[in-house]
């Protein structure tokens, strides 16, 4: 069928619009996205908004049970051992929590993935060195690392992120490498090589998209792990220190009251769970939305079901 050169490619609907439509199609993911948005907003405004309310102690109102409006709306989730309203504290803690968790997860995921790509795609020698390094990190106790960093560098949020991130690098590294070893043998990667694509283009444009969904799955669950592990480092003095708070720290502090005042650790724990759950639902959604062979699952929603 001959064609005149004036025929051009039809304009696609904007990528954002399509993503939005696909998000709308998956109500779970939509709810998750809204929750994550809420968390981000709270992380930005929380401390300025409720700092005062969250730190005001009230020894007479200590361990106040939840679901009572006696202390105002901030008191609906109850109060902690110093009588501070839990809702306000959870909101204020959002910023620290998210900063640390996102920092640590991003840092470890990015570095781990990079190294994994290099180890999987580049030469043997580099790969071997990187992998043995990962072995070393994997067997280096994180607590020892924390103690060392604390002693040598002193406590700070940045150091905390570093400690948390380093220990998680090997998962990303090994996961990435394992998949790269398989993907690099695929024909379309070779086709890219024939076109003269640089290593980096092959790695980022052709291999990474295949590996990414798995990494996202691991990363979102690491979020929970990091949020909880971070409080363990507070115990060493390297982490966030009271009166500063994070969800992890609140959970840890509430531990001793688990049987007498469950709400102290359950609400922040729930915040962690919901955040993780949301991120994971989102990453599951993203996996499908970004995969052209799976995308119909979202595009079909609401129209027809086979």
């Amino acid at each position: 069928m001959p064609l005149s050169a004036t025929d051009t490619i039809p304009q696609e609907p904007g990528a954002l619009r399509r993503l939005a439509r696909m998000l709308w199609a998956d109500k779970f993911a939509l709810a998750a996205a809204l929750f994550v948005l809420l968390v981000v907003v709270l992380a930005v405004v929380g401390p300025m908004w409720l700092e005062g309310a969250a730190t005001r102690q009230n020894l007479r109102g200590r361990n106040l049970p939840p679901f009572s409006l006696a202390q105002g709306w901030l008191g609906v989730l109850g109060a902690d051992a110093l009588g501070r309203p839990l809702l306000a504290r959870i909101i204020v803690a959002t910023r620290n929590t998210i900063t640390i968790a996102a920092g640590a997860v991003l840092f470890s995921a990015v570095i781990g993935t990079m190294l994994g790509l290099v180890a999987g795609y580049m030469g043997r020698a580099a790969g071997q060195v990187i992998l043995r390094l990962a072995d070393v990190i994997m067997s280096f106790p994180s607590l020892l690392l924390a103690v060392i960093v604390l002693y040598i560098l002193g406590p700070s949020v940045a150091n905390l992120i570093v400690v948390l991130a380093i220990t998680r690098i090997p998962v990303y590294l090994r996961t990435t490498r394992a998949e790269v070893m398989e993907v690099r043998e695929r024909m379309f990667v070779q086709a890219a090589r024939v076109m003269g694509a640089s290593r980096w283009r092959i790695i980022f444009r052709h291999i990474l998209p295949v590996v990414l969904p798995t990494l996202l799955t691991v990363a979102t669950l690491d979020f929970a792990f990091v949020m909880l592990a971070e409080s363990a480092l507070s115990f060493l003095g390297i982490g966030i220190q009271p009166p500063e708070i994070t969800w992890g720290l609140m959970v840890a502090q509430g531990r001793q009251y688990l049987q007498t005042a469950w709400w102290l650790s359950v609400w922040p724990g729930l915040a962690i769970i919901l955040t993780t759950l949301s991120l994971n639902l989102l990453s599951g959604w993203l996996r499908i939305a970004l995969d052209p062979t799976q995308r119909w699952r979202l595009e079909m929603k609401g129209r027809r079901n086979g």
Binding site: L133, V136, P141, L258, I272
Partner: protein, 304 residues
């Protein structure tokens, strides 16, 4: 294959040495064990003596030289606190941890693969939703919640299981149950994700065209293709268990390596710390080697 393993063994030995150097020197920057072992009001004389006895007064390089010499004779030194050979303490504890890790990972692997694969079979279905949400909630819940809840429910209220300790097989149920949850959640997710892709491949269509049942299609045809990331994550989780399950060990009074490692780090019991790290490192190195071999076994296109 044997060439690969030999080369790998040499590389691992070098990393192990590197690890020892790292831990040896870095850990000694973290304070004086004498201050922790001796009472707070111990005299300077006592402190000096303690260091003398344990060879902590020598220059670091000399200390390290001695340590390496001893190590060559498989002498890992004595615990600074316990007046026992460090390796003995470590191996005792490691035996427990090893059993716990192996049993837990075996159960986790089987369960997570089954659940994850079935969830991927009907993406967005009821089973998928329930399995995903429950496994994720479990995986992101603080583990001590589950541990304490388990004790309150199964031991105190129902009286079915002992609260803690070791001895009977019953003692293992709660610790394994708690350890199960996080790796389970993570692996279910990884299996599910990777299976979604595998199940939509062309070769799955071939299998359907051949009249193969759903079971083998999922667990034989697709699963093996989906296993690369899965075994990597299994390895990561197993490594975490081999490093010791601190919460479970402390709550259930399980005499494993995690608590030992933490104590030795906090108390600066260097010899125990080093021995523990070496033993677990060896286990982890070995496990990673097995995993790398498994890659090639699972996917013939991967050759080392």
């Amino acid at each position: 294959m044997f060439g690969f393993i030999r080369q790998r063994a040499i590389a691992s030995l070098i990393s192990l040495l590197g690890l020892v150097v790292l831990v040896f020197f870095l850990s000694r920057l973290t304070g004086d064990p004498a201050a922790l072992f001796l009472p707070i009001d111990a005299t300077d004389e006592m402190r000096r003596q303690f260091r003398e006895i344990h060879g902590l007064n020598d220059p670091l390089a000399v200390q390290f030289w001695h340590y390496l010499g001893d190590l060559a004779r498989l002498d890992f030194g004595d615990s600074l606190r316990r007046a026992r050979p460090a390796i003995e303490i470590v191996l005792e504890a490691f035996a427990w941890t090893f059993q716990l890790a192996v049993i837990t990972m075996a159960i986790v692997t089987a369960a997570a693969i089954a659940v994850g694969a079935l969830a991927a079979f009907r993406v967005g279905g009821l089973f998928d939703r329930i399995a995903s949400v429950t496994s994720l909630v479990g995986a992101s819940a603080p583990d001590f919640w589950i541990a304490i809840l388990g004790i309150v429910l199964f031991s105190v209220t129902l009286g079915w299981l002992p609260t803690s300790g070791t001895g009977t097989p019953l003692h293992w149920i709660l610790p394994i149950g708690v350890l199960f949850i996080r790796p389970f959640g993570l692996i279910v997710q990884v299996v599910r994700g990777s299976m979604i892709t595998a199940l939509s491949s062309a070769y799955v269509k071939t299998a359907r065209a051949k009249g193969v049942r759903s079971g083998p299609i999922i667990f034989v045809h697709a699963l093996r293709n989906a296993m690369l990331p899965v075994i990597t994550v299994i390895g990561d989780q197993a490594a975490a268990l081999l490093n010791g399950a601190v919460v479970v060990e402390t709550i259930f009074g399980f005499p494993g390596i995690g608590k030992l490692m933490i104590d030795s780090i906090l108390q600066r019991d260097f010899n125990v710390m080093l021995a523990a790290i070496m033993v677990t490192a060896l286990a982890i190195f070995l496990m990673n080697l097995l995993i790398d071999l498994a890659y090639a076994l699972l996917d013939p296109r991967i050759r080392h």
